[in-house]
């Protein structure tokens, strides 16, 4: 479904991503694990079209994404939840969700309402906050809103950048559970970039370990799980792995 080859992202003279290959198959949950600065955000931002890579091929659903801007990639079925959530803090939860369907101008108001109801069924606490400004939500609620908003575009591929950042373990578990359901019941393909190796590996089928902008290690989740010492090494002791 998603095929990335030889991706290079450069900031001035610094290479953020240096020849990265990865692929995500239909229906999979894949996790991209790396320390701060390893190139996770650069990778997912390049996939979503927020930064322009200097080299590499990004194929999504058999189409070359190279010439498409971020908005066109959304229309093509890709949704990114950026690091730090990116909810529209001054707008209400309702408006955030409505805007999630911006890429589907033909959607009728009844369908829009159904989609919003569906998102709220997934994260019921959003329902209690429907007419509140998103900026007044807790960090966990904002992350849920960001995911729900991304789902309003009915994506085929959902990309999440550090969804567990700054959240309590209980909230992280809740989000992980929802993502698993999303994958198993609705067939949404999911790519998660995470520093917290446990969230990713607990729910993912496969994983990549990223170091200095390159893939250092890849394998199925059980393989990577059995290699926790190695992961700790690649993460530079910054993260932990629950065993």
């Amino acid at each position: 479904m998603l095929d990335v080859k030889g991706l290079q992202v450069r900031y001035g003279t610094v290479l953020g991503v240096d020849g990265l290959d990865l692929h995500v198959n239909q229906g999979e949950i894949v996790v991209l694990i790396g320390a701060n600065g390893a190139g996770k955000s650069s990778t997912v931002n390049a996939i979503a079209g927020l930064v322009r890579p200097v080299a590499g091929l990004i194929k999504f659903r058999d189409a070359d994404m190279g010439k498409l801007d971020a908005a066109a990639r959304v229309e093509h079925g890709m949704a990114l939840v950026i690091e730090g959530r990116g909810v529209f803090s001054e707008m209400t939860v309702r408006e955030n969700l409505e805007l999630g369907a911006y890429s589907r101008p033909a959607i009728r108001s009844a369908a829009l309402r159904r989609a919003a109801d569906h998102a709220i069924a997934m994260f019921p606490r959003l329902g209690d906050r429907f007419d509140q400004a998103a900026g007044t939500l807790s960090g966990g609620e904002q992350q849920m809103l960001a995911i729900a908003r991304a789902l309003m575009s009915s994506p085929k591929l959902l990309v999440l950048d550090e969804p567990s950042l700054g959240l309590a373990p209980r909230i992280v578990d809740e989000i992980a559970e929802r993502l698993t359901l999303l994958s198993s019941e609705e067939g949404v393909t999911i790519l998660i970039a995470e520093q917290n190796a446990s969230l990713g590996l607990d729910i993912a089928k496969r994983g990549y370990i990223l170091q200095n902008g390159r893939i250092a290690l890849e394998g199925t989740a059980p393989e990577l799980h059995s290699n926790t010492d190695l992961i700790r090494f690649y993460l530079g002791g910054q993260s932990y792995v629950r065993t």
């Binding site: 959304v74 949704a79 990116g86 707008m91 911006y102 908003r149």
Partner: protein, 292 residues
Amino acid sequence: MDWDVIPQFLAGGLAIGAVYGLIGVGFSLIYNTSKVINFAQGEFVVYGGLATVSLTAASLPTAVAIPLSLAASVVLGGALQSLLSTARRGSNELTYIMTTIGVAIAMQGLAQHIWGTDFKTFALYSDGTIRLMGATVNYGTITTLLATSTVCALLWVFLYRTMIGKAMRACANDSRAAQTIGIRPRRMVLLAYVASAGIGGLAGILITPSQMMSYDNGVPLAIKGFTAAIVGGLANPFGAVVGGVVLGLLEGLGVGLISSDLQNAYAFLSLLVILLVRPQGLFGRAAAGSAR
């Protein structure tokens, strides 16, 4: 002192204040979507006013001349944004803002070439007046206030009730996140320029009949409009209208009570005082989110 004259002084500043407010709305819309200040904003006011002068002089009725001028303003706004966005590639905000000042000077030169250096005017409203709370208010003021209220109402409906208006607010709130849901920030910026140019052109049409218009009015009007937007809190276009009216009223009072020689000073003195007390403006950040 005779306090009975105060309402009349205030009434004198009301219309011009509303016009400052309309110009300020343009500053606010463009700032919100692109985080830059467009100092060519005042030129839209000059062109809107002077174009209507020319069209009515060519014996078109005002009911035709005004929509034509507004349409021309909108096209001008779109053209300016296309030009500026090309110039913007690879430059920072400061360079861009300097470019808008350059565009303002060029537009002023072009206006001088087209319309000459004379003050010009056209007739829009009849000379009648009404009595209101102890003041005599002329039809020009009434027309300006009605038009300004209409613009505010339409702008509110656009920003809070239409999808594209909400997308514009989303873009102002977080343009990066907006891209991830399919919004194209450059389109929103273009839209902001088009709307600002249209509203600026309308401001010109509203003041030209009472104040007259000349090719070089753009910069002082831009500065007043910018002040209105800062007083209101740049992030909130409706704050800019209130800011403009506050400025206009203070100017009216200053001119009436002290001297008309200092007309331009009152606005900036009040700006200094307001920013000392409320650095974020009257309706700055904190209130911007709840203005619905």
